[in-house]
Amino acid sequence: MSNKLEIYLEEISHFLSGRVEREEILSEIRSHVLEKAAAEHGETGDAALDKVIAAYGQPRQVAEKYLDGRPIIAPAYRRYLFRYTTLLFAFHGLLTVFAVVFKKDFIFFPFLFMPRLGVIEALMYLPTAFLADLGVVTLVLYFITQSGKEVRLPWPKLAVDLDEVKPPKKGFFVSRIGTAVGAVVMLAITDFALYLFSRYHTIFFVNLDFANPRPLFTAAAGRRLSMIVIAMFAASTMTLLVKLFTRSRWVDTISNVVSLALIGLLLRQPFDNLFAVDISERLLPKIKFGLRFMLLFIAVIVTVDLIQNLVSIGRKKLAKSV
């Protein structure tokens, strides 16, 4: 028996895995290929088999013709993949914020266990939560599709779809001018911050008298926080400069990831012995809470933007592959 034919059949077999009639299908193809090679080339040697096999088709393409063609998710339900994932993730994200701010576990047995999380853990957890939510929704839509039943999935008529959120359409030059102005402003802010840092080792002050400046934070804390904030300014400037040349969503995605990492670093800084100025003991916990909440709020907004960008990239790739 020809080794080439057996390799070809083995490849088809790989793509047919799970089908009970696999051996029978392979026997049919083997019989046909040998029959055709003998009838049209007078022999069943490798050269003849090569030609017949090439004409029969690529193994995956051949195997797919035997599969029943039922999609994993029916076209009618595909929109719901992003719709429901968005809803589920919004709920998940909210619980994550609660778990961080109120320092509590949340259990919705058997669906969800949200342990008490630190800020960094929460930021690391959100992308994982998004993928888990996407997986759960995919699984539900898969079972609905495979059941073959006509299920009407609920969705409010006025709701906005995440996958419909598109950047506003502006002219090439109008959008580039906005980006250029933003880049120049951010560059100026970054430069000014760097100048302040090199001169005073902090960029946070309680007065605007630079001849006799009074730093807001203690020396070590001021230096750490200033470096992180300057890194955030620099990242924004870089993003805007790169966006002058490309509108790729990957630029925004990378920018989102860097921002999230820097926000995480900010939130990790110790809040004790932070201020260099006198603040009443009664007010201090409220300021800490307010700062944490504000940074978490920004982190959630950045995460939502990150997901929008990833969804947009994913949809573009899907559209290209169809």
């Binding site: 009639e21 026997s27 049919e28 019989s31 029959e35 055709k36 393409q61 013709k65």
Partner: protein, 114 residues
């Protein structure tokens, strides 16, 4: 005017046609390769990798049967139409004749319009 690219439309039309063609052909027992050659001889081409999955579906529906013949120098799988297959073929041919009649009438009507 350039020739229209009818490739994908033809593939869609072929799906139904191939089922009737195979059912009509199998009034006489045939094996896969002989069916391909016979159809080619009639001026039509059927993809080999399309024919076998189709035969499998028709068999699953009970419209044809198959059996291996191991008597020759190499094994061949012969197919034959069943009673249910004949009834199906008659129904499909009726549909096809009706569609043909409708298209012929519309073509005639269009000739009068021009």
């Amino acid at each position: 005017m350039t020739d229209p690219d009818i490739g994908s439309m033809e593939t869609e039309m072929n799906r139904g046609f191939l089922q009737i063609l195979v059912l009509a052909l199998l009034e006489k027992d045939m094996y896969g390769y002989s069916m391909v050659k016979h159809i080619e001889g009639l001026g039509y081409k059927v993809e080999e990798n399309t024919l076998y999955p189709l035969l499998r579906r028709l068999e699953k529906n009970g419209w044809i049967t198959s059996k291996w013949d191991l008597g020759e120098d190499r094994p061949r799988k012969f197919y034959a139409i069943t009673a249910d297959g004949r009834a199906m073929k008659a129904g499909l041919l009726e549909v096809w004749h009706n569609q043909n009649r409708i298209l012929t009438e519309i073509t005639k009507e269009n000739l009068h319009v021009q």
